[in-house]
Symmetry: C2
Subunit: 143 residues, 2 copies
């Protein structure tokens, strides 16, 4: 049994200063600088940037070619305009656009971009998923 | 500018029932069943399982080979015994062990396993990072 939680998300990156500059341009502010790793406090969890080869070694498989794309991170917003603004901010910061935000079959509005290492972010508005005041997401009863 | 938050983590999976059974065996309980997607409520965010090819299509690149490993999810615990128990539970549920938990250079205790699709989870105890009562992680001041 493991608890139903994630406390830390780590992105393996090829060039730590480049990635840090990208997230800085997105408005993210790291905690106190540390050697070889960058931490961002989120609500109840932390996002980390860590060297890609360091990450492979830490996983016990030094030299492995680690892939991206099959795990995505989403930011939910309350309006389509907020989704558009976040997507445009990402492109200005140097993200690669994968799919410009658009209405999608499940009734919401969603787009995708990739960060400098190909880590995939979704920006979305789901009319059935109201966000809490602090920006966190708790699914409605019955969902 | 984007908010410093992740509200949804999506894992692309090759076989949704198999993945659902894996997370079920780990003790995770999904929300109301839906077609083609499984949601787990976490603290303030949601984890989703979604078909790998559906995810590629949703990202606007149908047919793309999406990779795993360069983005990892961690569960922090308060004791080494809790880390060991979570790691062993994962192996019993069918995870592939990558690195059995051990003391690591930064002063903590950490192991890694991969879920049936190669999504990488870390289980760790960091003595410098106390967890909140609800299991969430807020970095100490000055970190």
């Amino acid at each position: 049994m493991t608890p139903q939680r994630v406390t830390l998300i780590t992105l393996g990156v090829r060039d730590l200063p480049r990635s840090r500059a990208f997230y800085e341009a997105m408005g993210w502010r790291p905690t106190r600088p540390q050697d070889g790793v960058v931490f961002y406090q989120m609500h109840g969890a932390v996002l980390a940037l860590f060297g890609l080869s360091d990450l492979a070694e830490d996983q016990g498989r030094a030299g492995a070619a680690l892939g991206t794309g099959a795990m995505t991170l989403a930011q939910n917003f309350t309006t389509e305009a907020d989704v558009d603004a976040a997507y445009e901010a990402a492109l200005r910061a140097g993200a690669s656009g994968l799919k410009a935000p658009r209405k999608v079959f499940w009734g919401g509005y969603s787009g995708y971009y990739a960060d400098p290492d190909g880590h995939v972010w979704e920006v979305a508005m789901n009319p059935f998923w109201p966000l809490s005041a602090d920006g966190s997401l708790t699914l409605p009863e019955g969902e």
